[in-house]
Symmetry: C2
Subunit: 311 residues, 2 copies
């Protein structure tokens, strides 16, 4: 039911995003024992796949909605993505961010033309503030991951990957709020040739793993991980898709994440963030099960504080 | 006189090297005020352009010479390049390295199948040991930068760059032993449309800059630079080419190198070594002179110790 939507969304956002390269590495193939295809969303505009979903969500608004702008709460890549996508499309973006967020993240939003609104550093305050802005300005709220237009937009990365490598056996993505893996699962379903999707998740915030077992959306009690893009939880829009179309979630330790990240930096000479390394770490963890297969890995982003590397 | 040689060498080595991608960055274009095209030799096999010259040098040997192998002295990328090129071509490579060289570099040579021969950490001992190996084994000595086959091989990077962007106004490369910039100058001469070549060099080892002024090969008294691939000096094979065909050498400080390196990591999401950043740092230093022009930058390599970053 989402096939046409994916095709149309991709056509719509194409001129506002990069069709990022798919890189290979003979050295990593040897280490993993599989044939790897890395979809490099670290080379995406603003440095992460989130640019896709943000652009798609804004482009689906009516002209009236566009005039009043969009609002979201995020202290991560989605805040920057919505700001830049809105700027490219001539739309205002209100970004609600906890006052405690690092100045560098606030500056990034401002640099992309976002309108920064600070709030108390609690989830309740973030929701409330975003709601207030939405009411006052008439701005449309766009959730970073639990929004069908966002999910479909994120799925265009896997669509491009499958256009280049149609016979992938698997695609691995990291799992945070569920937008990327949800969209990837749909793209694999419609554009793959029996391509299965697996998620990588830190042990330290394994809500998706537990949700798959219990059959309902579970919460995190701890989020003590270097994969700071993955601390969020699944939502009612993406969880049904994940439950139905994702084969499984593989959990990895912090050491495994850091080590996979270092391997990619050293062997592939590219900068990826810790969250991006989780998918590759998950593959390495169970590599014996994938011997000789063709595996796509979505490297979700490359926004890293070079002063705080985990290796 | 080297045009055919460049064409033939390129044809010869093609299947043993990567035609590396040419990346662009709107953000860096804005910062530099020019249109930039980065030739990403950090993505080359073994992580540096040296793979090109090493492969070309070995392929030009007679069958008899190939059976006896090759020998070089290097503790840097050329040691690994000659080892891997020799391995790919079924030839033995003797690598003379100072006993004080980091174990990680020794392991890299061994990993690529090179035969490691340690010597005292002096230039005299290196030369003498290489000569002894050459005599004892009958192995052909291949100089890392002052060898016409090596110079021509390195020039194939700029040839590829110009095949993709034929109307570049300038190509910038770092200057170490002179192999890369010498080959680049020849490629620009034969395959560019009035494309000029400029070198970037650290103030801390500005032998090429001084050699261009004095008209003879100058030595370094200090080599206190983070650009550790550039501590070597020009040779009698490459200096005449550089003198005739390179427009000038621009010197940069250590801070400028580190800052250019960080800019490329952060904005382009790729890993380059400090030596690679020197060419971009040189452009930034005099960017006012290149406003609006099309400038190619050879990013020479990406072999970095992630534990020792200069930022």
């Amino acid at each position: 039911m989402y096939k046409e939507n994916l095709i149309e969304s991709h056509r719509r956002i194409k001129q506002y995003i990069h069709n990022t390269p798919v890189l290979t590495s003979q050295q990593l193939n040897k280490i993993a024992g599989v044939e790897l295809f890395f979809k490099c969303e670290n080379f995406q505009k603003m440095g992460a796949f989130k640019m896709r979903g943000a652009t798609n969500a804004i482009m689906q608004l009516s002209e009236e909605q566009k005039q009043k702008g969009v609002v979201t709460h995020s202290s991560g890549n989605f805040a920057q993505a919505l700001s830049l996508a809105a700027q490219s499309l001539g739309v205002k973006a209100y970004i609600v961010m906890p006052s405690t967020a690092p100045q560098v993240k606030k500056n990034a939003v401002l640099g992309y033309g976002g309108i920064l609104i600070e709030c108390e550093p609690t989830l309740a305050a973030r929701n409330k503030t975003a709601q207030e802005v939405s009411q006052k300005e008439g701005a449309t709220f766009v959730h970073p991951s639990n929004d069908m237009n966002v999910i479909i937009g994120q799925g265009t990365a896997a669509k491009e990957l499958l256009e280049e490598q149609p016979d992938l056996d698997y695609i691995f993505t990291p799992v945070g709020g569920g937008g990327l893996i949800g969209g990837t699962a749909l793209a694999a379903l419609y554009f793959g040739e029996n391509c299965k999707v697996i998620g990588g998740e830190p042990f330290e915030c394994d809500d998706a793993y537990r949700s798959m077992i219990s059959g309902k959306i579970e919460s995190n009690t701890t989020t003590n991980t270097i994969a700071d893009g993955l601390k969020t939880e699944l939502g009612d829009k993406n969880f049904p898709i994940i439950k139905e179309h994702v084969e499984k979630i593989i959990r990895v330790t912090e050491e495994e994440i850091a080590s996979a990240m270092q391997l990619i930096w050293e062997r592939m000479k590219i900068v990826i963030e810790a969250s991006s390394a989780v998918a590759f770490a998950a593959l390495l963890k169970e590599k014996e099960s994938f011997k000789g297969l063709k595996v796509g890995i979505v490297l979700s982003g490359g926004n890293v504080d070079l002063k705080k590397l985990p290796f």
